[in-house]
Point group: C2
Chain length 372, copies 2
């Protein structure tokens, strides 16, 4: 696994139980996944990545930032890279993603490739006076995304885009009038087998996921069928292997539009570790190893995951254990082993049960017990 | 954790999720828990164990074989040892255990301390012509236990017992006419909090656990209440900290008698990893760290665990994955990372659900898929 963050960390328990020898190429010492860090190095350096790859059967990822030239050199060297460079291009570049999804006839917000402020202002005028501008690459957790009413608000983005050695284009999308955000997690193996977990509702605060409800309330029937069809079409159309999250908008006029893709385990799937027969980390391992996929049924009617964002202002998460674990004996805590810092994802909690109100209350209260 | 076997291995995922830094003193390189092996050394060597202990806050165990003098030296050096030397004495020496449980007024099979063949023959004559002889120390998985009809059958055990530098005594017990075997798992923390999982039925083949059904069928009500009371009394009477298994006989005349104690996670509790809110490995960590204990409710009406004993005659468990995982997508596999060998516990599977017959069938079929 390339990358030593919390996704790599949570892959380790799944690997241990499944009997898979997992090794991590970490960016630095002491990261979340340090216990399995085989080596520390720069994932943009081909020699470092090739040396790491020589010791493993399959390469997969904690993030989508490994450069295309490194990915393609791995493939040329005979390494199994999953997901491969072709699908990863679409997770790395939002303009390419929008183009490809449109080609596939999948529902996306109205969008355009823009190279000048004039083009942006024209798009804004044609879309009710506001739009969402995105840098095609490098954004995450709300970074690289801005709602604008005039091109002047992102003047510096045009400058940066034209200076980064690529083609200087930005992505602009309609400001979708959405009722809520949803996410559909699926897993696909190279041989083609594909499975879906239940459609979930995700709650974002300031561009960062704060809460996930599985399944999404009031989604049974047509809505969940449509979401699964969309995610299957994306996974098959882009030949994704491993776990993938398709982030969706449910519009006020009851359409479902694709927002973003993540070709790896994703925050919107953390609930599955405690709420489903097969958690997303075990499933990702099965998928990238081309093993049969596990069942995606649930343990209870409802699972609610709440992120621990920031953690205590002073001290560590562990300082809160005595009180938090006593008050919430049925909540599952996942501590990422990271130092608290405002806004940082340092852990998450999951509650499950058959009464949604009670489960939401319990998960939120438990997460709050680890924060100030 | 002292000892690098499968119990240490299965503690690692729980430690990662709970944010506990776990280090293992393994007996050899390449053991089940190698990923967390901080060092390799002899757990009977005080200097080795003391050096290991210097780097940790709490010492706990994968097995009960650390000598008393080493345990007491750790305590004298200020190390938190959980469970401590006092309770561990009773898990290490079956004669001491029987004496103490009898003092506590707890139900045990009729037993005696014997030092001569004549005493054994006398006990046999008084108990219907048969008895069970046990070496007080060192037995496990049926080793050191023999059903006899005359003292001559264990003549060499008396010689060995008198030569081992201790007092030469053996334990003899009545051959209990039991309907089935049960096990009650509990967890107790130093501050006194104590919880129980549901009473389970265990099936032994040739002295080795082959299958566990949780909860034990037809045990609701009086029987499970009695079992929990017994286990609580043992844990409190012996001041056990951590997880403890009390193995029980259900007699044909509907009494419950204590068979053996294990003061650590135990095969009879493996089902809890997939079938309960808190698995025994997470609970053991909470208990030995004196953290609040987790809920012991279940995900489904029934959980059935079946051991994978031996594994394939040729090749590895992984060679069976393609077929076994495809046929059993809802079964959870735990691979101990050990080379297959006849009779060896190399893994286990757990199935859960609300139809006992279906769950038993599924778990047995999945385990069989990993064996010849």
């Amino acid at each position: 696994m390339i990358g030593g963050g919390q996704l790599a960390r949570m892959m380790i328990p799944a690997a241990i139980e499944l009997g898979v020898d997992i090794r991590v190429l970490a960016e630095a010492e002491g990261m979340s996944a340090a216990i399995a860090a085989d080596r520390v190095g720069d994932y943009t350096d081909l020699d470092t990545v090739l040396a790491f790859a020589r010791g493993v059967d399959v390469i997969t990822f904690d993030h989508e930032h490994v450069p295309q030239d490194v990915l393609r050199a791995l493939v040329d060297a005979g390494v199994a890279v999953r997901p491969g460079p072709d699908p990863l291009r679409f997770a790395q570049d939002k303009l390419l993603m929008r183009e490809r999804l449109s080609e596939l006839g999948l529902p996306v917000p109205d969008w355009a490739r823009i190279e000048t402020p004039a083009e942006l202002d024209e798009f804004i005028a044609a879309h009710g006076g506001a739009a969402v501008v995105k840098t095609p690459r490098g954004g995450y957790d709300g970074k690289g995304v801005r709602v604008v009413r005039t091109a002047a608000e992102v003047a510096e983005w045009f400058v940066a885009a034209s200076e980064d050695g690529r083609d200087g284009a930005l992505l602009v999308e309609e400001l979708v009038d959405f009722r809520r955000e949803l996410a559909q997690m699926v897993a696909r193996r190279p041989s083609g087998e594909i499975v879906a977990w239940p459609l979930v509702e995700t709650v974002q605060v300031g561009g960062v996921c704060s809460e996930v409800i599985a399944p999404a309330p009031h989604s049974a029937g047509r809505m969940s069928d449509v979401a699964a069809e969309i995610a299957f079409a994306v996974a098959e159309g882009l030949e994704v292997t491993g776990v993938m999250a398709v982030e969706l908008f449910e519009t006020t006029d009851e359409r479902i539009l694709i927002n973003e893709l993540a070709m790896r385990p994703h925050n919107s799937g953390h609930w599955s570790m405690d709420g489903a027969t097969t958690g997303q980390f075990e499933q990702h391992l099965r998928a990238v190893l081309d093993l049969p996929l596990g069942g995606t049924g649930t343990h209870a009617d409802w699972s609610v995951m709440v992120n621990v964002l920031g953690g205590p202002v002073e001290g560590s998460l562990a300082d809160r254990y005595a009180a938090a674990l006593e008050q919430h004996p049925t909540v599952k805590l996942h501590n990422y082993g990271k130092a608290p810092r405002p806004g940082r994802k340092v852990g998450h909690v999951t509650a499950i049960g058959d009464d949604l109100d009670a489960v939401v209350y319990e998960a939120r209260a438990a997460a709050a017990a680890f924060q100030d």
